[in-house]
């Protein structure tokens, strides 16, 4: 029986993001399998085969329009379309199997189709593809190139490991094994300033996410996290983006996905990895929401760990933290001014976002323990233990423990990335000072304790003046002595900018050394100085 895949035109966008990839992937492999089967019976010029190709293009077109390419590859027993695993279900399993077998016969890992592919090119391609005994492996690729087939090419090998030569690839050093790098090394791992040089940051982690990019708001000299922590962070940002971007107000939340996203972060918290280093890599504006959600998640999970939550609770806490602000999507269109200049209507709309978030989660998921926790966190993260805050609860309504954790984490991360003019010049140390000073009464003291113990007195990314007059960048907190974090000296006591092997690392700052004070934003080295030092 001929498979009858639904043409993409009938359902061009069943859901955004990853969901689209999964749906398109299923359609694509069904159409491919059908095309191959028809191609075995009919000549390439035959109308029946041509119709199959047209159908294939219809399926591909939305994907090509959106992503510029469609890369269908096999990794072991799985098929991936543009990096997203095509789900295996009982009713589509035979297409998976068939596609894997076709690739195996041709000794290729998959196919890459690029925008601009047309019927003529596909016809030529399939003429070669349908002769597996003649064209296989690199011969197949060479034949495609020789015939000028530019937009459909076989991939001979696919791997999740980055290339090991010629790409300035950062081999993801572990935190403890990390080597110092020049502050402005464009392709290196330091990520000082802009770190998204070709083959550098972008080659690491999952997706072209947040590792690197421009310094984020409120984080003078923002840095990308390192090693495993950085990989986890990048994966989490990518996952958060998938989770949030693949969900519309009409679609169901992929909480299953969300739980997978937070697992490495929780693992990091359990292994003592300084996951909060991710905080220092707020990136370009488009990533703000994802980075904000992930940063809140990072801080919350680290705090939760300090508060003796178990893995399951931490996973729920992480997902809840990722989703705490989903209600903003329902009111953001009504808000046009910065928070200091909110009109009464804008204020009311802003104060509605927790409630909208809880409703949205209730609407988008099936209730269970995780979703209930997410709902409570969304609803309560602007309530305070003394009953103030918003939305106003009816009757006595204690804020849940998870809501209190996320509330503190959200406030801290928001101050770090505040959109106000002052926010752009607020250092992590100052943000923490605000939490412990003017905002202290709003929060449970145990939560503030957990926050300080999570990020240290001098949070990652903060520049500090050491007792010998040198300037150092805080890399990670030191849970044993909050006043002596892990640092990297970047300006010597003599005022010389240090780079390369000259950079002095202290993990942590030894007892005989101390931090004199945290630097203010205006004391941070400028980008011009960075370049000069480089």
């Amino acid at each position: 029986m001929t498979p009858n895949p639904s043409p993409a035109t009938r359902d061009p966008a069943p859901g955004p993001g990853d969901q689209r990839c999964k749906t398109a992937g299923l359609q694509l492999i069904m159409r491919m399998a059908s095309t191959i089967r028809i191609g075995r019976t009919y000549q390439a010029e035959n109308q029946v085969f041509v119709q199959q190709l047209q159908g294939l293009i219809e399926v591909l077109q939305p994907l090509l329009d959106e992503s510029g390419e469609a890369v269908l590859v096999a990794l072991q027993d799985d098929l991936y379309l543009n990096g997203v695993r095509i789900p295996v279900k009982a009713n589509n399993f035979k297409f998976h199997r068939s596609m894997l077998e076709e690739f195996r016969r041709r000794d290729i890992a998959g196919l890459r189709l690029q925008k601009g592919v047309d019927e003529r090119e596909l016809t030529q391609f399939f003429k070669l593809f349908l002769q597996p005994d003649v064209y296989a492996g690199t011969t197949f690729l060479s034949a495609c190139l020789a015939q000028g087939i530019d937009h459909v090419t076989p991939a001979i090998h696919a791997s999740t490991e980055a290339p090991d030569d010629g790409f300035d690839y950062d081999p993801l050093p572990q935190w403890d094994a990390e080597e110092p790098a020049a502050p402005s090394d464009p392709g290196g791992s330091s990520g000082w300033g802009s770190g998204n040089a070709p083959g550098g940051e972008a080659g690491v982690g999952t997706g072209d996410t947040s590792a690197g990019g421009t310094p984020g708001p409120g984080l003078p000299g923002g840095r990308a996290p390192k090693g495993a922590a950085r990989k986890n962070y990048a994966q989490a940002v990518s996952g958060a983006r998938s989770l949030l971007a693949t969900t519309t107000l009409q679609d169901g939340l992929e909480l299953r996905h969300g739980k997978r996203v937070v697992q490495p972060l929780v693992d990091g918290a359990f292994s003592g990895e300084p996951v909060v280093v991710g905080l220092s890599s707020l990136t370009h504006k488009d990533e703000y929401t994802y980075a904000h959600a992930v940063n809140v998640c990072l801080v919350a999970v680290t705090m939760g760990r300090l508060l003796d939550m178990d893995r399951r609770a931490l996973a729920d806490l992480g997902v809840a933290a990722l989703l705490h602000d989903v209600g903003k999507s329902a009111v953001s269109a009504l808000i046009h001014h910065p928070i200091d200049a909110f009109t009464p209507e804008e204020q009311a709309a802003a104060e509605r976002h927790p409630l909208e978030g809880a409703k949205l989660i209730a609407r988008s998921t099936t209730l269970n323990q995780t979703t209930l926790r997410c709902m409570r966190v969304a609803l309560e993260h602007h309530m305070f233990p003394d009953g103030s805050g918003y939305p106003a609860a009816k009757g006595r309504w204690p804020q849940s423990v998870m809501s209190r954790v996320v509330s503190v984490a959200d406030c801290y991360v928001s101050l770090l990335g505040h959109r106000s003019e002052r926010g752009a010049n607020t250092t992590p140390y100052e943000a923490l000072g605000m939490m412990l000073g003017p905002l202290r009464k709003r929060f449970d003291p145990a939560m503030l304790w957990a926050l300080v113990n999570s990020v240290g007195f001098y949070p990652p990314g903060q520049l500090v003046l050491l007792d010998d007059g040198s300037t150092a960048e805080v890399l990670a907190p030191n849970p044993v002595d909050l006043a002596r974090p892990h640092v990297r000296v970047i300006v010597s006591a003599k005022g010389e900018r240090l780079s390369g092997e000259a950079v002095e690392l202290h993990r942590p700052l030894p007892p005989e050394r101390s931090v004199t004070r945290a630097l203010k934003a205006e004391e941070y080295p400028s980008a011009a100085e960075d370049e000069a030092a480089a």
């Binding site: 980055a162 999507s329 609407r363 099936t366 003017p438 145990a446």
Partner: protein, 589 residues
């Protein structure tokens, strides 16, 4: 690249190595244990026993053969190169066909697990964690947790899984790696890595338009204070109160964590409604509650479901907001597993389920019918029938789809329930069911017509007289002959006089004559007399002739007896003989 699919025929399980055989036996035991545990409560002694019995053979296998590492494909589980679990197939000479364990590979594979290892010194806790995860993942309930997450949460140390991520960066190459690593040379080819030298991962969300998704965060929601304070000093100030604050928090957390979420959820939902009163919120939360209710039913958690239903009635007193959701949701449940559990449940549990479905009303109809159809235990079916009677008593037409169901047993059950309801309101539906191609359904229809008035049931019963099925015919005739009815008699007579009457089997023929004797009066005498004399000089001894004579005798009216006596003086021996036989039966009944 290995696809992992082996087109070869597997050798017999008997040819497995000892380690393979041990693993094979263990997976079979695992599958059976899962099945058992799905049927019974977790505290059932049977469940506890089968779980305990899983550990010992696995431990023994590990002790004997060392750590066991399995490779998992969609249809098989391999120990090294041996398929210790494989698709259900009968191989030549294999006396052990695969059973329930053939479902295991896909259960792992579906959630991205490609490898499973058991290490020496396996603690019971780890195996329990794996078992619980498999149980949850195979229950058909949407837990939001896949196997990978469940195993991750359990944090097992001696049961390790190897899984593939939901998404990952994939690097393409025009050549195979020359050794080690994932990269490789790509010189000399115009096609190297994907453009921009990075990854193929699409930039989702951002490219597809900012309006999509829930990532619209365009405003600050925390006011930045004008002042800050030195952190070290502020922290020192905080410390004296910390000990008490942490203790209090810890107590609160323990309390919160130990409270079942199902007890917290109603308060949260009510709070949301109170904060945002209005039809939109009520509708939304009613639907959410309805989904929760559906999930509770799938989990066979009847108390939870009943309480959720009560909550739902708070938001949606008349059911108008959620009827469609409930109907769709409940219809989509795995009725097979629910029924299996019900079959094995105590009567109290069954009663809770049936009370729940009656409270649910129309949306539960599909499930109730499915339970009645699937149940293998008589008491479950009986209870399901009672439940359906309650559900449909006022609106028997609700059963119409089931009466027309192509599955004969579903239609038969519906007809049975209609019979139990038993008023004339069920007649149109029974009439529909009476046209079902399956005889067993029609038999049930006839039986169910017992509670219907004679006037309404007679046309349906008469329509059944064309049947060649003796049981159906007998049942229909039995009901038709409860009282004398001239119309019925005429119908039967027409059948008897029909040219194809003789093609019926003799039992059928006799039954029709017998029924005629029960319901007829003198109006049929001429016709019977004609049958008695049929053939004239050439009359033969036939069953019809004898039966006609006997029917005249059983009618026993003067006119009938006169006809019979006339037969005694007929010129044909065969006619006389038939009349005589009937008369003698009268004398010696």
């Amino acid at each position: 690249m290995s696809t992992g699919f082996s087109p070869i025929r597997h050798p017999s399980f008997r040819d497995l190595t000892p380690a393979g055989m041990a693993a094979h036996e263990w997976f079979r035991q695992l599958a059976r244990a899962l099945k058992t545990c799905r049927l019974y409560h977790a505290d059932n002694p049977v469940v506890l026993q089968v779980r305990q019995q899983l550990l010992e053979p696995l431990m023994h296998a590990i002790e004997t053969y060392g750590a066991l590492s399995f490779r998992i494909t969609a249809a098989e589980i391999f120990l090294l190169d041996e398929a210790v679990v494989r698709p259900a197939q009968q191989t030549d000479g294999d006396d052990a066909p695969t059973g329930k364990e053939s479902m295991l590979p896909f259960l792992f594979y579906r959630d991205g697990i490609r490898g499973l290892s058991f290490l020496p010194a396996l603690p019971a806790r780890d195996l329990d964690a794996l078992f619980d995860a498999l149980l949850a993942a195979s229950s058909g309930v949407d837990t939001h947790d896949d196997l990978v997450t469940l195993m991750w949460q359990a944090n097992t140390t001696h049961v390790l899984i190897d899984s593939v991520p939901i998404e990952q960066t994939i690097y393409l190459s025009s050549r195979r790696p020359t050794g080690g690593g994932g990269g490789g040379s790509h010189q000399g080819q115009s096609y190297v890595w994907s453009p921009a030298g990075d990854e193929i991962r699409a930039d989702i969300g951002q490219m597809s338009g900012a309006a999509a998704g829930l990532h619209k965060d365009t405003f600050d929601d925390w006011v930045m204070p004008a002042e800050t304070t030195p952190v070290e000093a502020a922290y020192q100030k905080l410390l004296p109160a910390i000990e008490f604050a942490r203790m209090r928090l810890s107590t609160e957390w323990v309390g919160e964590r130990s409270t079942d979420w199902t007890l917290q959820a109603p308060d949260v939902l009510r709070q949301v409604v109170a904060m945002s009163p209005g039809p939109d919120t009520t509708t939304l939360l009613a639907r959410s509650t309805a989904n929760w209710l559906v999930g509770a039913i799938q989990r066979s958690s009847w108390n939870e479901a009943q309480e959720t239903l009560e909550l739902l009635r708070e938001f949606d007193p008349d059911g108008s907001l959620t009827q469609a959701e409930l109907t769709t949701g409940i219809s989509g449940l795995d009725a097979q597993s629910i029924t299996e559990r019900l079959d094995e449940s105590e009567t109290d549990d069954q009663a809770r389920f049936f009370a729940l479905t009656v409270s649910l009303g129309r949306p539960a109809l599909d499930l109730a019918c499915s339970v009645m159809a699937i149940a293998t235990k008589g008491r479950t079916r009986a209870a399901a029938c009672t439940m359906l009677c309650y559900l449909c008593n006022d609106e028997p037409e609700l059963l119409e789809p089931y009466v027309l169901d192509s599955r004969w047993y579903v239609a038969r059950n519906a007809a049975f329930v209609l019979g139990q309801i038993g008023t004339d309101a069920v007649v149109p539906l029974l009439e529909l069911a009476s046209r079902h191609p399956e005889t067993r359904v029609r038999r049930q229809v006839v039986a169910s017509l017992g509670g219907v008035s004679a006037q309404r049931r007679t046309p349906i019963l008469l329509a059944q007289l064309d049947t060649r099925d003796p049981q159906l015919l007998a049942a229909a005739l039995k009901m038709l002959t409860r009282e004398k009815d001239r119309d019925v008699a005429q119908t039967i007579l027409r059948l008897i006089e029909a040219p194809d009457f003789e093609s019926r089997n003799e039992d059928n023929q006799r039954a029709l004559f017998a029924a005629l004797a029960e319901v007829a009066d003198d109006t049929v005498v001429p016709a019977l007399e004609a049958l008695l004399h049929k053939g004239g000089w050439f009359a033969r001894r036939t069953l019809q002739r004898l039966a006609a004579a006997r029917t005249l005798q059983r009618l026993g009216t003067d006119k009938a007896l006169a006809a019979l006596e006339a037969g005694l003086s007929a010129r044909s021996d065969v006619v006389r003989s038939a009349a005589l036989e009937a008369m003698s039966a009268r004398m010696n009944p």
